[in-house]
Structure formats: structure tokens, C-alpha cells
Subunit: 127 residues, 2 copies
């Protein structure tokens, strides 16, 4: 029944998947590798994830430069005022993009925690 | 001493910041709003964050469609085999982009936890 829904885009997706899919014979769940609709969605997710990883790599390149600069200039690793402005801005952007603003805040907190960890390392390395 | 390092790009950054900066007179930390180098870095970070938020919004649009589809097709919300393949792929991409592979895995886990929460909601809504 699922295959009656497979359209052109899904068929292309499935042909891509067939080159890379791994066996799930050991699983008692129904095999999802043959599901063309799911495969199409997953190709889009994989493309977006590659973009996210590269954006994050660039973001950490910049924040590592910030960390080194803050360590040199004896500025504190964390900046609560700046963080509050960032949270407010990203919540607005999230709303406009129909992303849960709560999640956008959680996401920024997740990233900033990692950045602060880097900054503290840079400070410790400099001292 | 810090200002002797301010170059053209930093000066432009600082003029942007002056339009939007908030007072930090209440803080006992040295004011960072006037720091042109830091302001330049922060403009880049803000641009990247806007891109990240929009990529995440699109990713959740897709995973919400996946969640609805999985609920309709009675597929389980989580798929550990798929997650392992995603982790392996993103770790490789992270290495190529000079991003800490450990962080890329933590990031994907953070995102997937949110997605699974959405999928479970969709399943509960459908039942």
C-alpha cells in the first residue's frame, strides 16, 4: 500500500538509497530502506544536516577567534547581556520561520555552552 | 591598546553596532559594546545564527512530515540504525570541516531528541 504513494521524486530518492542503504534484516521492525517516501525525506534531511555542520564549523572558527581575543584582552568568557540579546533576536527569527521559539532558545544555549567551554579553555591556555 | 587593532571592517561593524547596542552601564564588567573587533566577529556570528535558525526551521518542517507519515504508516518514531548512519556521516563531514566530531555527534543527538519528541506527539495525536 505504501508503494502506491511513490511518485517521481520518491523513485529517484529510492534509487539513490539503493546505492547506499544498509541491510536491516537483523531488525524485527519492518524494513524502512525500501520506503521511497521516507527515503526522499531523508535525502533532504541529510542535505540540510551537511549545511548545518558546515555553518557550525564556521561559527566555531569565529568564536574560537573571539575566545583567543577575549583571553588576550582579559575579557570574561561569558557575556550575559549579549546572550540575552541573542536569545531575543533568535526567538523572533524562529517565530518568523515557524520554528518553536522555545527550541531556538534551547539551541542557542546548547551552542553557547560549548562556546564558553572553548573560551575557558583558551583563557586557561593563555594563563 | 585594543583600538589600535581596529581595521576598516571593524569600524563598519562598530557603526552597525552603535545603531543597535544596548547600554551595559549597570554591569561592572568593562563595556564590550565599543570594542570594534568584537563587534565585527559578532556580526558574523549573528549572520550565521540566522542561517542556522532557518535551516533548522526547514529541517523540522521535513521531520514533522516524516513524523506524520510514520504515525500513519505505523512506523516507530525512533530508528537506531538510521541514527547510527547519520552519526557516522556527520562525524566525517565534521572532520573535513575542522569541527570537533564529538560535538557534531552531540549536536545530532540534541536535534534527534527533539525530533523523536515531535514524532511521539504525532503518534499520540494520531491514536
Amino acid at each position: 500500500m505504501r508503494f502506491t504513494l511513490a511518485l517521481g521524486k520518491g523513485a529517484i530518492a529510492a534509487s539513490f538509497m539503493s546505492m547506499t542503504s544498509e541491510s536491516s534484516l537483523h531488525s524485527e521492525q519492518p524494513s524502512e530502506d525500501d520506503d521511497r517516501i521516507l527515503a526522499g525525506y531523508r535525502l533532504s534531511i541529510d542535505n540540510i544536516d551537511a549545511a548545518l555542520i558546515h555553518m557550525l564549523a564556521e561559527r566555531f572558527r569565529i568564536t574560537q577567534a573571539v575566545g583567543q581575543y577575549k583571553a588576550t584582552a582579559s575579557l570574561p568568557p561569558a557575556d550575559p547581556d549579549r546572550e540575552q540579546r541573542q536569545i531575543g533576536r533568535l526567538r523572533k527569527l524562529a517565530e518568523e520561520a515557524h520554528l518553536d521559539p522555545e527550541f531556538s532558545e534551547k539551541f542557542l544555549r546548547f551552542i553557547i555552552d560549548e562556546v564558553i567551554r572553548h573560551h575557558e579553555q583558551a583563557r586557561d591556555d593563555a594563563s
